[in-house]
Symmetry: C3
Subunit: 139 residues, 3 copies
């Protein structure tokens, strides 16, 4: 059995880290599937999905790490070619990855207590984002 749903929201861009754990969990509860896995996937090439302990200190630490890895103020070939100034957003997103798969049993996600599911929007402007939430399993 498969249920394919979507979470839609507005991000602020600039490495905005959006906690979607509750929205994911709600969709798992709603689906008529007891055990299985939920696949999360973000369409677009300037955002990624991962898990993090969602507290303000770590959120800022994670942003600083990305600024070290792929600074927003160095030269990118993408910018020179397309003049859209978000080359750093793209390379960060490709490194982080667009998909995450989380198993669940009895409708409970296998997340740790301090482990939240987040979308990281690396783009250099606010964006409307959609995350595909596909639940596959058996009842």
């Amino acid at each position: 059995m498969i249920v394919t749903d979507r979470i839609s929201f507005q991000s602020k861009g600039y490495c905005d880290i959006v906690d979607i754990t509750h929205e994911v969990a709600k969709r798992v509860v709603k689906a008529q599937i007891d055990s299985g896995a939920v696949t999360l996937f973000v369409a677009g090439s300037t955002a990624g999905i991962t898990t993090i302990e969602f507290e303000p200190g770590l959120v800022s630490d994670f942003k600083e790490m990305w600024q070290q890895f792929a600074p927003d103020n160095i030269s990118y070939n993408h910018n020179r070619a397309w003049d859209d100034d978000n080359g750093y957003s793209h390379v960060r997103a490709s490194l982080l990855g667009a998909s995450l798969v989380i198993p669940f049993q009895d409708k409970i996600l296998a997340l740790g207590t301090w482990q939240q599911v987040v979308l990281v929007d690396f783009d250099n402007r606010p964006r409307s984002r959609q995350v595909v939430v596909q639940i596959m399993g058996e009842s």
Copy 2:
């Protein structure tokens, strides 16, 4: 329902970034499965799979980022032990990751318009590569 297929091709190595989007989409169309997810997995420990906007500027930006992260001209313990000189290829591949999962509905992958699926071959020589394409879902 499950269909397990493979994409085989020759890469150039040296951070060659190969767009396999069309080959993946073809296999999804061919399978008798309307909705579900396709799992991509590369066998081998010197390549990874991700998504990127596949245009020449970003392709070169992404390569430069990896050269910053894990340079090909510094010392690796792997090289000293095995004398095969591709320690940088291995650590890059382990960071990027070997698998990606993409949901689809009505045989259409949930990719963004500017989001292509790529194999990144970090090895220090041309390689024959196989990507497992496993389609799981319902018709």
Copy 3:
């Protein structure tokens, strides 16, 4: 068909890299499923899962790469707020990722010969770890 199992073990922390390939393969053999995919997921926000050629040289190279990326001896906001000194563990884990999906056919995982499945424990102390091993497929 779905089988959800767990692998439990003790890690040493401090970027301990634990080879769980054999434990994963055993669970695939045990399940009454011939073809499908195994999803691996680590609960907790200071560890990740990936594949690597598991030999001592690369294991130390991979650890050194993480020390370059997110050093254990710089300042993290997480540490200042929570006084637990493992901010570097968290940001590394969020970058590496908590899930990996590996297809299999005839109960044989699609891994390369020199490609092992590992948990990387970035925490700054020994930990009891559980990896969820969910096998989905058909017999």
